[in-house]
Symmetry: C2
Subunit: 167 residues, 2 copies
């Protein structure tokens, strides 16, 4: 058994390129970024591992939220007007700042994936790619707590969860 | 910008307890483990961040696949009979071994979550919890490449992606 408190070390396997240079105005989810295209540039050492990915309409991207603020236990989420426990939100200010987006896969050229639905900041380090598989991932009727009655319909970020914006 | 090749350091924020002590026979997805219950024991330092999570029917767990074999670029997935690029599979033998499961949330008592749909090995280090939000996560009609015509209906793991099984 791994000691739950030991350090876990990962390395980026690529980078996400996007038109979003700073948090303010960046869509908070792929659902609000359907027209936004970008690229996933996978380290050539991993290009062979992309084989067969073209058949998937969507892929999960996992990435380091490298410009997020430090963890806070309770936050006012973008889509609400009151404080919620961080683990009940999708805020980037997480203990381990792992971001996740189900983006649309438009095509692949060797180690480069063309994607749309990009809610990710430019030059974000990529951690993993998994295929989106509806039988594993789609629960369209799952009750979603405060999201089901949320207080705002905000679709883009502001600076609340990020360090000083980079240009 | 983070150097895409620098080391990324995370720490477990808790541990997953489950009846699955070794890979062989463990369900490969929550969909094949609906009767299997377990617990997420969150480090008490993060208990406050669990507030409001009770309203969510499902939660995403992110965890370290700490008993997975080293990365291979092409693998024969559990649900197929031919080699596929690793990033087009859900195999645990990934460059950054991050596991993800959309489990059902049964209840919470302080820092402990009771869950079902457990496809996770006992004592797995927890990295993150996110609420499952259908409008962000559910794409029931997304085409799923080789999964849509896959060669087997295997529902449990064997040893192909793991180091020598631990007891």
């Amino acid at each position: 058994m791994e000691d739950a408190h030991s350090e876990i070390r990962f390395r980026a396997v690529g980078v996400v390129r996007s038109p979003h240079r700073e948090p303010r105005g960046t869509p908070i989810q792929p659902a609000y970024a359907s027209d936004v295209e970008g690229e996933v540039i996978v380290d050539p050492a991993y290009a062979e591992a992309l084989q067969d990915i073209e058949g998937f309409e969507r892929i999960w991207l996992f990435y380091l939220l490298d410009r997020a603020r430090r963890f806070e236990a309770r936050v006012i989420p973008y889509r609400d007007t009151q404080r919620r426990g961080l683990f009940a939100t999708r805020s980037p200010a997480r203990p381990n700042p792992i971001g996740m987006s189900a983006v649309r896969l438009l095509g692949r050229c060797e180690n480069v994936l063309r994607i749309s639905g990009v809610d990710i900041l430019d030059n974000t380090p990529l951690l993993d790619i998994k295929p989106y598989v509806p039988v594993f991932d789609a629960f369209p009727n799952a009750a979603a707590g405060w999201f089901d009655t949320c207080g705002t319909d905000r679709k883009t970020a502001d600076d609340r969860f990020h360090s000083k914006a980079e240009s």
